[in-house]
């Protein structure tokens, strides 16, 4: 088996004619749904500096979405705060972003449907989310999942302590994908985004390049249902970060491990090539799905801080 230069990879993802119409219609439907946000303080996980809340809000299909919300106490750092959305990986728990709040961010650990505490009404199981109802764009698992993450933008916009002109989004793997989709779908609101090792990018190409989870779910599914390939590709084109890329206008940081067996780097190059806004790409040799975080973590933090200017970092805390 030979494998060419990742940067030379040619994607098999196609842009559907009605891609924008599909998502604009869903966004409009979401916007017409009252958010009904609630915040419940969690004293156990709060401190003198940071207040932690469990939050909930409504999303598509009447599904209630959970999340963590951490904000600096006013006595520690006075408002307004920039907002930072932490979007979760495929097998990760939603982040409880206390450490980000300590830096001056009003930070949300987003928990789209299917994640713990958001899975009462939608629960495709694990593994399973990746192929759940994959034959139809209208019912594919990620359709509302992406919107659930976007609704966290509405949540921070509803908070008086947040400066809504500064909203960042960050995550790795599936969190990298949600960073991109949220920046694309809410390009009216997102200031910057940092995506590590983006998943849900070149799905079918990725599955052909790896046998690691979660893309292996795709291989297992296609092994059992080979006749569905075209139908599956037709669905996935609506959900591929490569097709979201042109909608992104905010500055983005993309970090990639050149030895990533989970989300093959070929697909990250395909992605970056499709982006038309400002993008900084950092590739780390011999790194895997860690995307070189050991070396790039500080750059991620400084990138977000440059664009979002949290008071805690500006004050050198």
């Amino acid at each position: 088996m030979t494998r060419g230069m990742a940067a030379d990879h040619v994607t098999s993802v196609r842009m559907p004619d009605d891609f924008d119409a599909f998502w604009d219609e869903l966004l409009a439907r979401a916007a017409a749904t009252p958010l009904n946000p609630t915040l419940e303080p969690i004293p156990l996980r709060s401190s003198d500096q940071v207040e932690t809340f469990e939050i909930h809000y409504d999303s598509l299909d009447g599904v209630r979405i959970a999340g963590w919300y951490c904000r600096p106490r006013a006595s520690y750092i006075p408002p307004p705060y920039p907002a930072l959305l932490q979007v979760p990986g495929y097998i990760s728990e939603p982040t409880l972003p206390k450490s980000w709040a300590k830096l001056g961010y009003a930070a949300v650990g987003v928990a789209p449907r299917g994640k713990l505490r958001s899975n009462a009404q939608f629960n495709p199981g694990y593994p399973g989310l990746l192929t759940h109802n994959i034959v139809d764009k209208e019912t594919y698992s990620y359709r509302a999942f992406y919107i659930d993450a976007c609704r966290a933008v509405d949540f921070v916009q509803s908070r008086p302590e947040v400066d809504a002109s500064r909203i960042g989004v960050q995550g790795g793997s599936q969190g990298g994908a949600l960073t991109l989709t949220t920046a694309a779908l809410r390009n009216d609101a997102i200031t910057c985004g940092a995506a590590g090792a983006p998943y849900l990018t070149g799905f079918m190409d990725a599955a052909s390049l790896t046998h690691s989870q979660p893309y292996e779910e795709m291989n297992e599914y296609m092994r059992l249902y080979p006749e569905r390939e075209e139908q599956v590709r037709r669905t996935l084109d609506y959900f591929d970060c490569i097709n979201f890329a042109p909608r992104i206008t905010a500055p983005m940081l993309v970090t990639v491990g050149l030895g990533d067996d989970v989300c093959p780097p070929e697909t990250a190059f395909d992605l970056v090539r499709a982006m038309s806004g400002p993008v900084e790409m950092i590739t780390s040799p011999r790194c895997g799905h860690d995307a070189g975080i050991y070396w790039t973590q500080s750059r991620i933090e400084s990138f977000l801080a440059e664009h979002l200017r949290p008071a805690g970092i500006e004050a050198g805390r």
Binding site: L116, Q213, R223, G259, G288, D290
Partner: protein, 300 residues
């Protein structure tokens, strides 16, 4: 007095778990999964009864062909789900990946909270959730080692502290890859970090007055330091940067407790490099071939 003494009734505590397990029929159910089987191996969903009684879940992948095959147990991570066995491992080994009580596929009627699991029942060793979670690992290990396909073959266990505890209490494992620290010198480690899951300990101790002593007493039962002397096989220990919570000086008591059986692996922080090193070590311990992933690293 040491900050981390071994409890006087350490042996009795764990013997009671063994006795309890021995009195419970594992009541094995094996379900073939067509979807998760592939050209190299057959996947089974396994359901077993552990202490409680509680019904736990495991993936069991068995290579095609006559066998026997080496055995690989992957203990559960700290999180609500675990990846199924990897395609590469499934070609070489009989692989079991366990879901402990509270994790997805073993989360009815008890679903673990994250954060939250680490401190559940932590004020008393008898109620600490990890008493049951360790039992779950032991139950899984017993079953894996009893499979006819692995008879007479070497067996390895890979994971965090649970891998060490499992190997300590079930002598069939000839190799252990200990790749992540949670309970190791936890009362010293937690104050030095704000990262979860150890932050759960900090939160608990700060929130519940005078709980630190009780928590320290409980977690001593699961500290790998006290289990290390019982591990019979070879142990590969991931060692991090000096000064960190996995640095060589912090790990020194552990390495001493393992003695000559332990071998440090100094992590490069390059995920590909570290994976391939660990894979090669496991493969050699199990008399199998390595399956490096970096050989086909994409070129930027």
């Amino acid at each position: 007095m040491s900050i981390n003494p071994k409890p006087e009734d350490f042996g009795a505590y764990w013997q009671a778990v063994d006795d309890e397990l021995a009195g419970i029929d594992p009541a094995v159910e094996l379900e073939h999964s067509l979807l998760r089987s592939n050209e190299h191996s057959t996947m089974y969903f396994v359901r077993l009864t552990s202490v409680g009684p509680y019904r736990i879940f495991a993936y069991l992948s068995i290579p095609h062909g006559d066998g026997p095959f080496p055995a690989l147990l992957q203990t559960p991570r700290y999180g609500s789900v675990n990846n199924p066995p990897h395609f590469d491992d499934r070609q070489r080994f009989v692989v079991m990946t366990l879901m402990h009580r509270g994790q997805r596929l073993a989360d009815k009627p008890y679903a673990a909270a994250y954060p939250g699991l680490l401190t559940e029942g932590i004020e008393d060793p008898a109620t600490f959730i990890y008493r049951g979670i360790v039992a779950d690992c032991l139950r899984g290990a017993e079953y894996l080692l009893s499979r006819p396909e692995v008879e007479g073959q070497p067996a390895a266990v890979v994971g965090d502290d649970l891998a060490v505890l499992t190997a300590a209490r079930r002598p069939g494992f000839t190799a252990v890859h200990y790749n992540l620290f949670t309970f190791y010198r936890m009362m010293e480690a937690a104050p030095r970090t704000a990262a979860y899951p150890l932050e759960e300990i900090n939160e608990h101790v700060a929130f519940y007055p005078n709980s630190a002593d009780r928590v320290a007493r409980t977690v001593a039962y699961v500290d790998p330091l006290h289990h290390a002397p019982e591990v019979k096989g070879k142990v590969l220990v991931n060692v991090g940067d000096p000064g960190s919570l996995s640095g060589p000086e912090f790990l020194e008591p552990l390495m001493q407790a393992f003695g000559s059986r332990a071998e440090p692996y100094v992590v490069s922080h390059e995920g590909g490099t570290d994976h391939d090193a660990a894979d090669a070590w496991i493969a050699s311990q199990l008399g199998s071939v390595p399956k490096p992933r970096l050989w086909l690293e994409a070129m930027g």
